[in-house]
């Protein structure tokens, strides 16, 4: 459970904030040493905020988020402008002059596993402190399984397909699942948390991960397929799939996906999506067989180093296609599609048999301030700015935030604009000329609603290497290429 608190910017709250962080960290699974380290980092940030606040009733917000592998503490405030890079700690100066400027931030950088400072301009500032939750990796407990990739080949199983036992995964399957991943991918699998049985177990127990495990009649686990529930919407990502080499080519993957779709329906989920890599078209074709359709192309979604051994030396970061399956597609959708993307978004919806009904904006003025939640993926160094309300200040806040994220070595940023309420038209107009490209439609992605995704990346992308399979995917790609050319031309002409 996440927590959100608002505190008065006063020196007396520093201890309470640090205490809460300490207890929160212990409950999330950190040991006392790491909990103290997180607590200290929070103490330093809050001290900085309190010192920078003006007289009076200033307040600041703290948000505590956790998942199975990490804790994130976000401190938001509106105090005086601050740039941590201009206040670097110098121990010689501290000793000689007693000036400890930057000492607090220096400690935060040391005691946090990640520390990100985001300046959102007049929309305030955010300090983000991340601690990883330690867990035992699979390597120290591996037993009983066939050799890891690259070792001796295993003869193909002769077991008839109907003799395999398919069952929904339970927490007790966690260790077998981690071992399956290891014995299929070694340590090259992109989602690192699957190597930590404790994290897998917790995710299964909390039903954040729903999965199918296949066993032989003797009980040996040979295949696994999982979907990860979205945190803020009733959809799931079909994300982890392995079949031991000796048990491939007998339809296990197909059966598992069918079962997963059944589980998703039973759970009342509204859709499933997969991130299909675009270094080839295999994943997109397989997804299409099950009724998934490409709705977006995300450029440089994760680093090529995370994809080693599957494609050797791929020369650029990996772009993915978002393939979405509506479990019970509506016949029509009333949405506020911006003029610029109306045609292509209509085609994306049409793939799912959904007719778009263009909602009409009553012409109400935009609110002054936008509502934007910044979500950072610290593993893949990307961020999503989820805009729940478009305000007059959208482009100022978004461009300032993106610039801040780029400086913090987060080179891929997506902006999700709501299509279920007025504002997308103004948002697209405001962001025009700021270097954004179309990504596509993110159906039911936040709060059970549809969003238009724009993207911006610092990674050089050769679109020739981005393989789009379906006609609509190719059309999205064409549109992205065209916007890239336009942006380049605009930059050249100033």
């Amino acid at each position: 459970m996440d927590a959100h608190i608002r505190l008065k910017s006063d020196v007396s709250v520093i201890g309470s904030a640090a205490d809460f962080a300490y207890k929160w960290a212990l409950n999330a699974g950190l040991d006392t040493r790491d909990a103290a380290r997180l607590s200290l980092a929070v103490d330093e940030v809050v001290t900085n905020v309190v010192r920078a606040s003006g007289e009076g009733d200033d307040t600041f917000e703290m948000e505590f988020r956790r998942d199975v592998s990490q804790i994130e503490v976000i401190v938001r405030e509106f105090g005086e402008p601050f740039d941590p890079d201009r206040h670097r700690y110098d121990s010689a100066r501290a000793l000689a002059e007693g000036r400890f400027v930057g000492a607090g931030m220096h400690l935060v950088e040391h005691f946090a596993d990640e520390f990100v400072f985001i300046n959102k301009g007049h929309a305030g500032k955010e300090f983000r402190i991340i601690k990883n939750i330690d867990a035992t990796r699979i390597a120290v407990i591996r037993t009983q399984f066939p050799p890891a990739p690259g070792q001796a080949a295993v003869p193909a199983s002769t077991l008839p397909t109907e003799d395999y036992v398919f069952a929904e995964a339970v927490p007790e399957d966690a260790e077998d699942i981690a071992k399956l991943i290891f014995h299929t991918y070694g340590y090259t699998y992109a989602k690192e948390e699957v190597y930590f049985p404790k994290r897998v177990e917790e995710a299964l127990r909390e039903r954040k991960r729903l999965a199918v495990v296949v066993r032989t009649p003797r009980g040996d686990a040979v295949a696994y397929f999982a979907m990860l529930r979205a945190l803020d919407s009733c959809i799931g990502e079909v994300g982890e799939a392995v079949v031991l080499p000796a048990h491939r080519r007998r339809g296990l993957m197909t059966h598992m996906l069918e079962q997963l779709i059944g589980i998703a329906r039973r759970e009342g989920m509204r859709g499933l999506y997969g991130e299909a890599v675009t270094v080839h078209d295999i994943s997109q074709r397989v997804n299409a067989k099950f009724g998934f359709h490409t709705t977006a192309l995300l450029l440089a979604d994760f680093p090529s180093t995370r994809y080693r051994d599957l494609v050797e030396d791929f020369p650029q970061d990996i772009s993915v296609a978002i393939d979405f399956l509506f479990l019970d597609p509506p016949r029509s959708r009333q949405v506020y599609l911006p003029e610029k993307y109306r045609r292509i978004l209509g085609k994306i919806y049409a793939q799912h048999g959904i007719t778009v009904v263009q909602a009409t904006d009553e012409g109400a003025p935009l609110p002054e301030g936008s509502q934007i939640d910044v979500r950072i993926d610290y593993t893949y160094r990307s961020a999503v700015l989820v805009v729940s309300e478009v305000g007059e200040d959208l482009s100022a806040v978004v461009t300032q935030t993106v610039s801040s994220l780029f400086e913090e070595n987060v080179p891929v940023v997506y902006v999700d604009l709501p299509l279920f309420r007025p504002g997308a038209e103004e948002a697209v107009q405001q962001l025009e000329g700021h270097g954004f490209l179309l990504a596509g439609l993110m159906p039911v992605f936040h709060a059970d609603q549809d969003y238009l995704r724009l993207q911006q990346t610092l990674s050089p992308i050769d679109m020739e290497l981005v393989v789009a399979w379906s006609p609509v995917a190719r059309e999205i790609k064409k549109r992205v290429e065209s916007e890239m050319r336009w942006n380049t031309k605009r930059q050249k002409t100033g």
Partner: protein, 106 residues
């Protein structure tokens, strides 16, 4: 925070973390003292404001003695590059251990 003041000696027993709030109070109380003893047994953390306060107390010529600081204190000094300085300028007694310099393993 509990404290005792006798002539030029101040004894403080922290009931919470050693941070800006407690550092300001200790500095104010210690103004006219030459000896300051701080029991940190109830503190989980000691932050940069506390270190700055200790630096000022030492710099003002006061004899500073710390009792039972949390393990993170020594790491904080090391990260800030102040471990050698404090090893020379204040004394530390860890719980159930004889008095020694702040250099424990810093």
């Amino acid at each position: 925070m509990e404290y005792e003041k006798a002539e030029d000696r101040l004894k403080v027993a922290l009931q919470r973390d050693f941070n800006l709030f407690t550092a300001e109070r200790i500095e104010a109380l210690a103004e006219d003292c030459t000896h300051v003893r701080i029991d940190m047994g109830a503190s989980k953390i000691v932050d940069s404001e506390a270190v700055r306060a200790l630096y000022r107390l030492v710099g003002a010529g006061k004899a500073v003695h710390l009792v039972d600081p949390p393990p993170i204190f020594f790491e904080v000094l090391q990260v800030l590059g102040l471990d050698d300085y404090f090893a020379r300028h204040l004394t530390v007694r860890e719980r159930a251990q004889p008095e020694q310099g702040a250099s424990r393993d810093v």
